[in-house]
Subunit: 146 residues, 2 copies
DNA sequence: TTGAATTACTTGATATATCAAATATAATTA
DNA sequence: TAATTATATTTGATATATCAAGTAATTCAA
């Protein structure tokens, strides 16, 4: 089983891994909810954990540009997963609120997220996963300080 | 040093790693050549290794949709990195040829690619990199067969 | 307390991602 | 060979990515 890797580095493999994982996620998600993307799910999960998060913080957490977040949220509002309210404490910020449909969707998709992770990590031992995480964090830190 | 990870899985870390790596790459590339992207560089590298590659094969290698490849190549032709010629053996396919400017760019950027990889993988031992690659390929294979 | 700087977000422009449909050529089959 | 099927690429529509510039609210400093 040959792995074609045009750059010959593990960095290409990292890219490949995340692309394949995203494909699986999207496929499984769409079996249950047809009009939502992986990233939009991530937005819901994050908001569900921390309802007071700002768009800028959200952007950092999902590795996206602020402008992208603005537009992703616009679409999620349009599709009635979120509503935007005014943050009275700081009117620059917008308060993002998960709608009932959003909540229902989280409920529907939570088992899917678990399945996705389990699928991807099947056969990896806990210590292998920890090691993987450690090595990746080393790469992240190398890149950040570069 | 806390790692915020909203999903609590290594899959998020994979995403983070590749995003940070791409940022470094883009930054270093743009110091030398201002109007080219990481992916366009990858196209040049791949074509330089194998000039007979089709767009579909290219799409697979750089993990993109065929339509994206069409448009990326259009732009690269417009910027005079590539030229499109007719493949007389199969007129459906297009023959992609690296221009003189493209060749010069490859020469300029080759040391940058090496630097990028070295930067990202700094401090990782060979066997760690191999292990990383192995674990990632396990994930890839899990996702592909899912 | 006012003016300057900062912050949060939006908007515009362009590139890219993705899917579906369209086009053109090639290969296969009845 | 004519009709069908398959392949390679393109195009259209919409979403997202990215940068720069713009807007509005907040904070800071003289």
């Amino acid at each position: 089983m040959k792995h074609k890797n045009p750059t010959g580095t593990v960095l290409y493999t990292i890219e490949q891994a995340i692309k394949e994982y995203r494909k699986v996620c999207q496929k499984n998600i769409q079996k249950i909810v047809s009009d939502i993307t992986v990233d939009q799910c991530l937005v819901l999960i994050i908001l569900n954990e921390n309802s007071k998060i700002s768009q800028i913080e959200m952007a950092k957490l999902i590795f996206k540009d602020n402008a992208s977040v603005t537009r992703i949220i616009e679409l999620m509002v349009k599709k009635d997963y979120l509503s935007r309210e005014i943050n009275e404490l700081d009117k620059r910020k917008s308060k993002l609120v998960i709608t009932e449909k959003g909540q229902k969707t989280i409920g529907l998709l939570t088992p899917i997220f678990k399945l996705n992770r389990k699928t991807a990590l099947d056969g990896l031992a806990i210590d292998e996963i920890e090691l993987l995480d450690k090595l990746l964090h080393k790469i992240i830190s190398n890149c950040k300080t570069a």
